[in-house]
Symmetry: C2
Subunit: 428 residues, 2 copies
């Protein structure tokens, strides 16, 4: 092909995702040009350890000096797949200010410093894209920022952490307990050595912040997202969920309500007929509700070398076309509103509460009175027919403010007839 334009790329990081990106750009290089109007060439790759042997990677491209990439005038696209706040933040900021386009998969950074990075992109008239930062290979950021842009989006609800979804699937389908399922996830490489960010909902919380910001046009930071993990979910909860026709999923949820944005991550019981209920194993899915489109859902692989690389390379090809057409920086920070974030205590939820109580007359009445005193309406009661001195009581509430429920539970914990509050799980 004549008149070939080649665009040079710098890659920051060569871990799992970086390797995937390197492979995929290589695999697609011939077609890239026909799709975008320019060929791509990875010119430099930033790594920690220059001596490590990396199968299939051209060793000549490696550098351990990041300035070699940011200060290289030939490089027009920087792909950041290192993760973490620093040094990624400094590198990306400098690259953007210098007019380099940046594609990033860094959810930690974007969830906290999205605005600052977009400001740097504006300064450099550069593209800043991050489809890979949320739900891996699933197109969700571009749909939110472009395809569904004609909508007022009022709810986003998703399974955006594959590790915990795998664990919950094993607990549901194979009767494993949490520890066993986590061990299995670690064995398969789904869970990291330190699984805290996954199992405590922090990873999902960052993704919720990014999606909410994109969808509601108002900044939601990770620190605005209430997070609660799945470590307390037990086999008993799983059994009750099944009995009630539900599944338990770690749900990231954000709502744009008339009195503020709600954003949280917590395990929820959802009806097994809800589209999210059928999302199994390490798959992710995001459910979006808009005033015009109604319900939509986006489903796929939320992590992994090639699925994440798919999202990165999609962004890179978009940037390439924008460079060819001289219109980078077209889609920038779109959070032009300043909506309040609702205190989590004021968010309303329905609750499933499992507790151990004395098996004697009047106990249910006493407990119901405490809930009633705190404005918590009870929708459903399941009481085990036990002959022992203790019985298990399961209560389903209607939608109540978090603080009312917490107040009721505080009082219940003090009562001699209540020996344990075993589970508190929100219901959709």
């Amino acid at each position: 092909m004549t008149d070939t334009k080649t665009i040079k790329v710098g890659l920051l990081g060569l871990g799992t995702v970086g390797t995937g990106v390197y492979k995929l750009i290589g695999r697609r290089s011939e077609e890239m040009q026909q799709k975008t109007g320019a060929a791509l060439e990875i010119k430099k790759i930033l790594v920690h350890n220059m001596k490590k042997v990396r199968q299939g990677v051209d060793q000549n491209l490696l550098t351990d000096q990041w300035k070699e990439i940011i200060e290289d005038d030939e490089i027009q696209i920087v792909i950041e797949v290192m993760g973490g706040i620093e040094p990624a933040k400094t590198m990306i900021t400098e690259a953007l200010k210098a007019g380099k386009n940046v594609v990033s998969a860094n959810k930690d950074l974007i969830a906290e410093y999205g605005k600052e990075l977009y400001d740097a992109a504006k300064e450099g008239s550069a593209d800043f894209l991050f489809e890979a930062a949320v739900a891996g290979g699933i197109p969700i950021i571009r749909p939110l920022k472009q395809c569904l842009e004609g909508n007022q989006i009022d709810e986003i609800m998703g399974i955006v952490n594959g590790t915990t979804n795998y664990i919950l699937t094993k607990m549901f389908e194979d009767g494993m307990d949490f520890t066993e399922a986590l061990a299995k996830a670690t064995e398969l490489g789904y869970a990291e050595a330190d699984p805290t960010a996954d199992v405590e909902g922090l990873d999902a919380g960052r993704k919720v912040a990014i999606m909410a910001t994109s969808a509601f046009h108002s900044q939601v930071k990770f620190s605005d997202v209430y997070t609660e993990g799945i470590t307390k979910i037990t086999a008993a909860d799983v059994n009750y969920a099944k009995e009630m026709g539900n599944v338990i999923k770690l749900i990231g949820i954000a709502r744009n309500t008339s009195n503020g944005i709600e954003a949280g991550v917590y395990p929820m019981m959802i009806d097994k007929k809800h589209p999210l209920a059928t999302v199994r194993d390490s798959f992710n899915a995001v459910f979006v509700h808009g005033d015009a489109v109604g319900d939509t859902m986006f489903y796929g692989r939320g992590a992994g070398e090639l699925p994440t690389a798919s999202a990165v390379v999609g962004d890179v090809m978009d940037v390439t076309r924008n460079i060819v057409w001289n219109c980078t920086g077209r889609i920038g920070w779109s959070a032009y509103k300043e909506l309040p974030i609702k205190e989590f205590a004021d968010v309303k939820n329905r609750f499933f509460i499992r507790m151990q109580v004395s098996n004697e007359p009047g106990v249910l009445a006493a407990i119901a009175k405490v809930f009633g005193d705190h404005k918590v309406s009870i929708e459903r009661v399941i009481q085990e027919q036990a002959k022992a001195a203790k019985a298990e009581l399961v209560i389903g509430t209607s939608a109540v403010k978090e603080y009312h429920l917490q107040d009721a539970l505080e009082e219940l914990k003090e009562m001699p007839i209540v020996s344990e509050i075993s589970s508190i799980i929100r219901e959709y």
Copy 2:
């Protein structure tokens, strides 16, 4: 806001979708500018009948002269929501050649003349977008052409007709037969007075052609798509499907194989655990498999006033931004390959065959021999325990070429022991 740029829009058609677009642009006008950098103003609307009273529409905008829109130098975006081949084709072609950007929801036209329209768009350096033409409000064209562009997509499989999905849902869940379910769909406005295009799979076939062209980068026309409808599905088929843990869905499917593109629409039995199986009522969903991303799915409302308008307005906002940034025409015809279309007779499928046979010894052996002679392997046999002279025989085949199966069936039909071939349904 100072420095306001206003972009003028012409609307061709004011039926269901046109009305939705008119409403939605009105509803979003204030935010449009913050999102895209320009305000939108509908300047003219082409209608058939100038005298009809249209609630909430400014009568002064109406015209019945299409040239008033195409020849208006101020109009930069033309939205075509009339449907049908002509006169839409002439209008869109002239608009594009004149450098006007076109957003269309016209699947009939794009499935047959996509290439010609993109050629006209190229001539006018104009955008030609049609997210609404496939699966209504669900983002699928932009994901295929952009987000998933780094993939080699080898399979697209979807429920892309809401009417037939509603009918099949009613047959499955409420025990209705086809005629009854169709009547219900008509009553609810899901089916048109002449339901042929829906129930015979023609509407879905057009969408398959458009998706396959976008995904495989090679032109697939509607005439390349084999189509078969749902009119022959009976309550007996539904019962067998349930017994086997399946559902029956009208599936549009396209595969990019090493010896050609396969494209078809037909009812299929799919495992009830497949993500498409849970798509109920008039919802649509498209399943896409790419070499990097793996399995993905896009779910939502495939039709209706506002869901379709959501897709149109998303495209319009994209075009608006491109006008502001002077980069229209960036994403054009991308079918740069010329892959062969496989003859449908050579496509391999698994089959569910239900037939009425004589209830006597040796019948199964005789039938099995005919299948075997035509290279059709049998995977499963269900024979009703009947005391009558006739019995129902259900056969499940392994994946066999369509023509082998057709040949076997021709021979079976001639046999005195076979009184009827009652159903032939493909299995995923």
